[in-house]
Point group: C2
Chain length 232, copies 2
């Protein structure tokens, strides 16, 4: 968010985005889709997590990916190998996905596929620990990633991301022995921002923690489907 704007512009902007996000979520709900929004700093491991998630869960759930990047389809190309629909969105100079951009992705899903076929849409946001947390895109849950290389002070310095997250993946735990990071302090700092967030430690390299993440995804999906069934 750019503090240079006056409060009225900022309020209008977030209000319009929220309306768009609610509208996107109505689409997902109608089709029985659960949507997760993955957010982190650049290089924390969102794409490799998605690769491993698609590989592990693609026989269990019907999945699609909405892939946000400022430029390039490098990440989209990595994910297409897993034989699931990957819808790329280039944000240009924008530092985050907003609900309007994701609406474009939903439009593609609706017109190029049969949207009721899908159980799960995974959104990979632009790498940024600040703004993506403020711009809801229609997701049912927010997943934040923080690499152990980023340091234990980050939850205090970038509070919104940690306050908003439903699940926090502490990634690259295989590197912890080579760093001075204090993982207990990191956990305490996360808890200071958000006492309820599920924290999972993972390593894409060793596979540690991944089954716990897959279980979380499955549980979140079941929970969402049960909630939708009650509404009908």
């Amino acid at each position: 968010m750019h503090q240079t704007f006056n409060a009225a512009i900022e309020l209008n902007l977030l209000h319009a985005n929220q309306e768009g996000a609610d509208h996107n979520r109505e689409h997902f709900d109608r089709w029985g889709i659960t949507c997760l929004n993955l957010m982190s700093s650049p290089g924390a491991g969102k794409t490799v997590l998605l690769e491993q998630t698609l590989a592990a869960l693609k026989d269990k759930f019907e999945m699609a990916v909405i892939e946000g990047d400022m430029t390039t389809e490098l990440d989209a190309d990595r994910l297409r190998k897993y034989d699931v629909p990957v819808i790329p969105i280039n944000t240009g100079r924008s530092c985050h996905l907003d609900s309007k951009m994701v609406a474009g992705g939903i439009h593609t899903l609706e017109h190029q596929y049969n949207p009721t076929d899908f159980d799960l849409v995974l959104v990979e946001n632009v790498g940024n620990l600040v703004c993506p947390a403020e711009f809801e895109v229609g997701e049912h849950a927010k997943v934040a990633l923080l690499s152990v290389t980023e340091g234990e002070d980050k939850p205090l310095k970038y509070p919104v991301m940690f306050q908003e997250a439903d699940c926090l993946l502490i990634t690259k735990t295989d590197l912890a022995p080579y760093l001075d990071i204090d993982l207990e302090r990191l956990t305490a700092n996360v808890r200071q921002m958000n006492k309820d967030v599920t924290i999972i430690h993972v390593s894409a390299k060793t596979g540690a923690g991944l089954s716990q993440w897959f279980d979380w995804v499955g549980d979140r999906l079941k929970q969402n489907q049960a909630s939708l069934a009650r509404q009908i």
Copy 2:
């Protein structure tokens, strides 16, 4: 930058910021100060680089730091130990420093210190690989940091930062043996964005490359002072 804005608002915003940046630079020039703007993703090592720079150069140059963070004075407190003026700016929800915020820091420098005493002002921006590159704050040179843990694709995916940088520090090189990073590919990707940027590989842990960085700072300062002398 938020693409949700219309082009007119965006242009006004960047224009107003640029005017403020030019004004800030006039102040620095009048006082004979060289200003460097340090930018990177969260956790790439800006603060530790500043700690080592203050320790190494404080007997050689008179330095001050303008320290940007969304919240907290954690980084400012780390730097105050080096007995140089540290002026904290909390950006609140803003994902970058803008020229107006830095003008506030310059005001403090002017009224609490004797600004002509200083040779070098180091600005530590908010951790974000996107927006800080678009919002000039009055610096004479932009310094970007990219940690080896972030991956070799980042210059392609976050082009503006790499296009704008005058000096790029590849940090945490001591971790490279534990990663799958291809450093030659990384360099090629940087060069694709910016053929002139100075690239320095550093490790805060082993000290590798730091003397090259200190030399770059000294050279940049001399170059700026020579340029100012010609203008008088």
